[in-house]
């Protein structure tokens, strides 16, 4: 757990950049986002987590005016999300899940286009500065289509930053990007947040989730939990045991379905066994802990354990 991130959580009295309530979106009969509320303070890096199809992208699109909410109210950067999407667009940098700049334009041409669309002052310098800032200057004449995933993501971030937005909405920005590029990307995000930029980022990576100041977990269009990573782990009330030893796969098979055992997840050479009810879990595990050759340790549950636990309990509620 990144303690620096936990400490950086801004107090509730701080200035809210996003503050929405009751946000609902339906596609035909299907409710994709249901009664969603979120509050993001200035300078925060807010992580959006949840399984595929949980409504993360839809929520982000509603926040930046790409989709109109069927119900709900609130403000984004002080503008009404339902009526003032045009103003919101001016001050938001939105990075789409899929690369959405022009592959047949060069890096500089792409940025120049974006700068013109946003009516950026001193366009040429702004483009040069942004290219420099993200280390893209050497590739400025290269066509965007010829870039690899990591560089495309950098270019997309550059395009988002060009008009000096106050809020960044990043939709799975690091999907398919190698670990080094991801780490560099997150260093950038933290630098930006330190300068006062607010960032809402959706991700599937737990290490990225841990680098966020606050997290929201969504499933089936509903907000299941939010808070800092530490808070989420504490709130979950989950107990996790780690087992090391031979034939973990067989052990896992035996453990599944035992009372109190909610989750059995292999982690390389160890097995993580978690449950919401600590006493019952302990009772169930007692006979196994006697077995020779196994080493059992009680550990703090990871975010992933917590989220999968949330998902499983959510399934019971909604399906």
């Amino acid at each position: 757990m990144n303690s620096a991130a936990a400490n950086a959580v801004v107090s509730p009295s701080a200035e809210a950049v996003i503050d929405v309530k009751g946000l609902t979106k339906k596609f035909g009969e299907r409710t994709v986002v249901d009664d969603f509320a979120i509050r993001v303070n200035r300078g925060q890096i807010y992580g959006f987590l949840g399984p595929n199809g949980s409504g993360k992208t839809t929520t982000i699109r509603m926040l930046c005016g790409l989709l109109t909410a069927d119900a709900g109210e609130g403000q984004c950067l002080g503008y009404d999300i339902r009526r003032e999407s045009q103003q919101i667009k001016r001050h938001v940098g939105y990075m789409t899940q899929k690369f959405s700049l022009y592959e047949d334009l060069s890096l500089a041409e792409n940025l120049d286009f974006i700068a013109r669309v946003y009516d950026v002052k001193d366009r040429k310098q702004a483009v040069d500065k942004t290219l420099e800032r993200l280390g893209l200057t050497a590739r400025r004449t290269q066509l965007a289509g010829s870039l690899s995933g990591g560089w495309k993501q950098r270019l997309a971030l550059a395009a988002c930053l060009l008009h000096e937005p106050k809020l960044l909405l990043l939709d799975e920005p690091t999907a398919g990007v190698d670990p080094k590029a991801r780490r560099e990307f997150w260093d950038q995000i933290h630098d930006l947040a330190a300068d006062g930029l607010t960032v809402l980022v959706s991700t599937h990576y737990m290490d990225e989730a841990e680098r966020c100041h606050a997290l929201a977990y969504i499933a089936y269009g509903r907000l299941l939990a939010n808070g800092t990573a530490t808070q989420l782990i504490q709130q979950s009330g989950m107990t996790t045991w780690s087992a090391a030893g031979p034939d973990l796969h067989d052990l896992a098979r035996e453990l599944r379905g035992q009372p109190g055992v909610d989750m059995v997840v292999p982690f390389g050479t160890t097995l993580h066994v978690s449950g919401a009810d600590a006493t019952q879990l302990e009772q169930s595990l007692a006979p196994y802990r006697e077995r020779t050759g196994y080493r059992w340790v009680r550990i703090e549950p990871g975010l992933e354990d917590v989220f999968i636990g949330l998902m499983n309990s959510a399934k019971d509620n909604f399906q």
């Binding site: 699109r61 930046c64 005016g65 790409l66 989709l67 109109t68 999407s85 045009q86 667009k89 001016r90 938001v92 939105y94 789409t96 899929k98 690369f99 959405s100 700049l101 022009y102 592959e103 974006i114 669309v117 946003y118 009516d119 395009a159």
Partner: protein
């Protein structure tokens, strides 16, 4: 199993193609729709032997002979006297405007000279810009006139019957005296080429944004629909003018097409025509899900445009319902403008009646396009 060709593998691809074909309703519609449209258009609408062509009549000598002549011409079914002009100048104007295909002038001393056996002049002026539209009517003309005269020249006048025609029939093929088909086709091609390329290019330009996913980014920026539309259309207007320059140069230098009217005036009409086509393309691009569908829609519009506009077949030869469809298409009106300006030397006053329908079409198509273009992804 054969290493080079495996039936199960072939079947896998085949079945997949059928499933995909079934999913793409528009393609499926094309498979059925195109033959039906072609059958209807070629089977019912197109007629290379146009009859009932509108004609103006200038009668300076009301007599039994002139009445008989008019009746015979109408009975031949090729001529239909829709206008009666008091002077030749007035009739010529009708010809210039394209309101009539023919003008028949019966001179004031017609019956007197006829009775004296002096072979009076009978003038038939034809709008020959489209030689195929007037060809058959003119071919039967001699015979029809002879029959009419034979019927009336009875009693003491019957002596005038035998031998040559008792009147001096003068046929003037206006605007294209030699009846050269390419004088009609080459200017028309300008309209056809512009229709095809303008619609296709804009339809693809917008659909490409959606297909490549760049639309989402564009929508997230403050750019407004009207800005996108204008920005996308303007470059193609320039492309359109390039094509026009190319076609006009070829028309003049290679095909020797006369350019009687003002090119400045033609350029003015071109702006409206090109913009109308671009609006259609833009509308298609808001409907089409991918570039293939955009192409198909373009073809759907292009086919009737080419067949019903009077480009390939005489407009007046088509049944009324087909003419109505034709009147709704910008190409129909543009063909009249371009042929009118280049061959007839028409001025602004003569082309306005054809220009405003194109303008109206552009407004309607542009409104639909803007209404359909959404600023959100809903």
């Amino acid at each position: 199993m054969n290493a080079y060709f495996s039936w199960p593998r072939f079947l896998a691809v085949l079945l997949k193609e059928f499933v995909q074909m079934k999913r793409d309703r528009l393609t499926f519609g094309m498979i059925v729709g195109i033959p039906i449209i072609q059958l209807i258009l070629f089977g019912f609408a197109i007629n290379t032997d146009p009859k009932g062509l509108p004609a103006a009549l200038v009668v300076n000598d009301e007599s039994v002979f002139s009445r008989s002549l008019v009746r015979s011409l109408e009975n031949s079914q090729y001529f239909k006297f829709t206008h009666r002009a008091t002077s030749e100048a007035e009739a010529d104007r009708l010809l210039q405007l394209g309101d009539v295909q023919f003008v028949l002038v019966i001179p004031s001393d017609f019956s007197r000279k006829l009775q004296r056996g002096e072979r009076p002049q009978l003038l038939l002026a034809a709008d020959a810009t489209d030689p195929s539209a007037t060809g058959n009517a003119l071919a039967t003309l001699n015979q029809t006139v002879k029959q009419a005269m034979d019927r009336e020249l009875v009693g003491p006048l019957s002596g005038l019957k035998p031998g040559e025609l008792p009147v001096d029939l003068r046929v003037q093929r206006r605007f294209n005296p030699e009846g050269i088909t390419r004088y009609n086709i080459v200017p028309g091609l300008m309209g056809v080429i512009l229709t095809m390329t303008m619609i296709m290019m804009t339809a693809l330009a917008m659909t490409r944004e959606r297909e490549r996913g760049t639309m989402e980014n564009l929508l997230a920026t403050p750019v407004r629909p009207i800005e996108v539309m204008a920005g996308k259309i303007a470059p193609f207007i320039i492309v359109g003018y390039l094509q026009v320059t190319l076609i006009l140069s070829a028309a003049k230098l290679i095909f020797g097409v006369p350019i009687v009217g003002s090119l400045v005036l033609l350029s003015l009409a071109l702006i409206v025509f090109i913009a109308a086509n671009l609006s259609v393309g833009f509308t298609f691009s808001t409907i089409a899900k991918n570039q293939l569908q955009a192409m198909q829609m373009t073809f759907f519009f292009f086919l009737p445009s080419m067949l019903l506009s009077g480009f390939m077949f005489p407009f007046r030869g088509m049944p009324e319902w087909a003419q109505w469809i034709g009147e709704a298409l910008p190409l129909t009106h543009f063909l009249r403008i371009v042929r009118g300006v280049l061959l007839k030397g028409n001025g602004l006053a003569e082309i306005v009646p054809e220009l405003w329908p194109i303008g109206l079409f552009m407004l309607v198509a542009g409104t639909v396009a803007l209404k359909r273009y959404r600023q959100t992804l809903d």
